[in-house]
């Protein structure tokens, strides 16, 4: 399990990137479902539209999931991503290179 801080008004994707984790994100607009994750605890909110069909997992049970590219935590949250995240391999220069949110 990876733990990281997420500022107010920050999506989980942005916070994960700042913490050196690559969330699988493709469209970054809440439409494609690449960043689907099951919310195990806590609450999130959306301030920009997302596709409601992607708020449910593919498969038989269609259980609820969240879209990390637009989900903003409103409490501490625990999420289980559907597609694996990768960790950056830090180079000494990594911290000097501006990270884009």
């Amino acid at each position: 399990m990876q733990q990281f801080a997420c500022g107010a008004d920050t999506t989980i994707d942005e916070a994960a990137r700042s913490a050196g984790l690559n969330v699988r994100v493709v469209c970054r607009r809440g439409g494609c479902g690449a960043c689907q994750a099951v919310l195990l605890s806590g609450r999130v909110e959306y301030r920009e539209p997302v596709s409601v069909t992607k708020l449910h997992l593919a498969g038989d049970d269609h259980s609820r999931c969240e879209l990390l590219c637009r989900a903003i935590p409103v409490s501490d949250v625990t999420v289980r991503p559907i597609l694996a995240w990768t960790k950056h391999n830090p180079h000494p220069w990594s911290d000097l290179i501006r990270k884009k949110g």
Binding site: R29, G30, C32, K54
Partner: protein, 308 residues
């Protein structure tokens, strides 16, 4: 009976205003009509009233796509053939959709909604039909310069089933196919015009949209397009741009503000238009890395699996 082209793609979007802004400012389309619920846009190189329709919805994806038939009598023939193939067909009178006449609506075996029509309101090329300027219209300068709607790439759970309908009922032909180990189609490119695909089919959920594709002016235009998209922070594919082994085209993929995938590409080869006379190019699935992403020689799986 002949389908002359895929005339338009109607997209569901989760934010209509930002979608319109994207398709006008980034892609280079222009608005021809607005209704209470939908916005109709044309590309500079199509003469029909619209080639993209946008409708606000709680989801993203493909509402339907339009196919333009070659002859007014084609609608009746298609009605018979589609019903015989098991499709439920309904007729919508002229005026049901701006800019097009009577419509024959039906669902493909993959649950995609298709509206077939013959009559359209011809609005000419954006540059005009009298002494046009070859450089193009000012309104598209500053966009990636989509010339015309080229093809739609659909997702289907059973690719053989959908291909069979398009080939046997709608007279499409097949230019390239990826064959799975069991001998079934894994990916296929079908055409009804003289370019190598008007409809592509990839594995995925029924009614799914993989992408809507526009043709760029040339390969150099794709390089400039990627730079513009990155400059404007439009999400592009991780590779920026690539070349497909299948089709051989130079391409970039990006997303509209609702997550629908768009493509701008250049360099499809011409197909002869002799239906059923030229066998398709076949790809083994083991070669799909090179076939999909020729430079990278690997298949980025989220590219295949994340669709609207």
């Amino acid at each position: 009976m002949a389908v002359t082209k895929v005339g338009y793609a109607a997209l569901a979007v989760t934010d209509l205003n930002s979608a319109v802004e994207h398709y006008v400012n980034n892609v280079g389309l222009s608005i021809t009509e607005r209704t209470k619920t939908e916005v109709y846009l044309r590309s500079p190189g199509d003469q029909d009233h619209h080639s993209v329709v946008l409708r606000e919805s709680s989801r993203a994806g493909l509402d339907r796509f339009g196919i333009k038939m070659g002859d007014p009598d084609d609608l009746a023939e298609l009605e018979t053939l589609a019903e015989r193939a098991g499709a439920q067909v309904r007729r919508l009178p002229a005026g049901s959709e701006p800019g097009i006449g009577e419509i024959l609506a039906f669902r493909l075996p993959s649950e995609h909604e298709v509206w077939a029509y013959h009559s359209t309101q011809n609005i000419g090329f954006a540059e005009g039909m009298d002494n046009p300027d070859p450089v193009g219209v000012d309104s598209a300068i500053g966009s990636i310069g989509a010339q015309h709607l080229d093809h739609v790439a659909l997702c289907a759970p059973d690719i053989d089933d959908l291909s069979k309908f398009l080939i046997e009922v709608l007279d499409f032909d097949e230019s390239e196919v990826v064959v799975a180990p069991d001998g079934k189609r894994a990916v296929t490119f079908l055409f009804c015009t003289n370019t190598m695909h008007d409809v592509a089919i990839v594995p995925g959920p029924g009614a799914g949209l993989h992408h809507v594709s526009f043709e760029g002016e040339n390969r150099a235009a794709i390089v400039r397009a990627v730079e513009l998209l990155r400059h404007r922070d439009v999400p592009t594919m991780a590779y920026g741009m690539t070349r497909h082994g299948l089709a051989g085209v130079t391409t970039t993929y990006f997303h509209d503000p609702s997550g629908n995938r768009n493509e701008l590409f250049s360099g499809p080869y011409a197909t002869p238009g002799a239906q059923g006379m030229v066998p398709p190019i076949e790809w083994e699935i083991s070669e799909l890395g090179r076939g999909a992403f020729y430079y990278e020689n690997e298949l980025d799986m989220p590219f295949m699996t994340t669709v609207t």
